[in-house]
Symmetry: C2
Subunit: 209 residues, 2 copies
Amino acid sequence: MKVKTRDRILTTSLALFNELGEPNVTTLLISDEMDISPGNLYYHFRSKSDIIGELFGQYTAEMDDLLAIPPDVEVSLDQLGFFLHLLFETLERYRFLYHDLVNIMSRYPDLKNRFRKILSRKGKGFRSLCDSLTRQRLMSLDQSSLDALCEQLTLTVCYWESFDSLKELGNRNAMDPARGVYQVFYLLMPHLTESAAGELTVLAQEYRR
Amino acid sequence: MKVKTRDRILTTSLALFNELGEPNVTTLLISDEMDISPGNLYYHFRSKSDIIGELFGQYTAEMDDLLAIPPDVEVSLDQLGFFLHLLFETLERYRFLYHDLVNIMSRYPDLKNRFRKILSRKGKGFRSLCDSLTRQRLMSLDQSSLDALCEQLTLTVCYWESFDSLKELGNRNAMDPARGVYQVFYLLMPHLTESAAGELTVLAQEYRR
DNA sequence: GTCTATACGATGATAGAC
DNA sequence: GTCTATCATCGTATAGAC
């Protein structure tokens, strides 16, 4: 069973975008990498922005799936770690989007609002998770602190990969979702009750590299 | 006394880069905006990357100045707020650098190492400040938490502006350094002693918008 | 120092045969 | 569906006159 060319274009583009940065990837490079002709690529996609739009659609779909957290959910710290790991893994797979955000958004303007929607969904997801921890009396926060924390969590998941890969340039450690989970754990730590914080410290060691 | 053309090129470029994103600003647009010819621009700068390199030099110089924090410094919370405000203000003035980081770094490769140097300098600066707070018994942290906190502070100052302007797209609130200060205050809050946290809460209100 | 004119290369995209 | 041309455009950069 052969993989459809259209899908191969998407996966190849994604890989190249992540590796080289979207602006450095020409339609010629994509078709070259796939051993097809540029004309063939343009048979499947009307333009380069269409490819990006479709990849963004995939990203959105995966994120929506991940962030569909019921407001009455009860998460354990273990489950939280698992969730975060999945989240960082997904963000890493579409990391090119955040590497040249302004450039990408300015060339494909409809992406702006779609980006903002995802952003607010991330914030709401974290809110649900924090609420859950609060209900379980693992965490205790006043309103302002909670707002600031969720904001901070959202910022961190969005930009952690960019930050980390800049710091670890060419390092083998780079691009391990676990590093992100570890960092977020330490963001939550100071707001947890003593026993929960102890548990999370132990858990954090498993994510440490 | 006339401002030198060379300097006007730099300030005009900076303004346009910040407003439109560096990849969207052509040398023609710069010279057009200044009412000079493209040839004239190329008389003063050998290439577009030279302009970016020089702007990056300015950014580095201002940052180095700001981050030259003596290890034995004693800062009050007030002074800390003032420092953060200056820091965010400077980062905002050179925000284009972080808006398309990968793209910029890939086209002007020598910037990579210079970026990393600044990054590590930021981390060390925050370390000195935290050490000062610790010495004054305003803050208390184990080693792992301190590392994670400084990492988090560095990430936040680098990407806060990008994050905030994405969230507040076209909003008037956007691009006020005070918002960044407020956010960083809440990052420090949970690690402070009760009285210091109270003081910082009050101070944070002044930065609230 | 500043201008006009232009070369050059790269890239997104199309036309038409197979 | 896929290929081989080929176009049109744009952006950087240079040459040479004033």
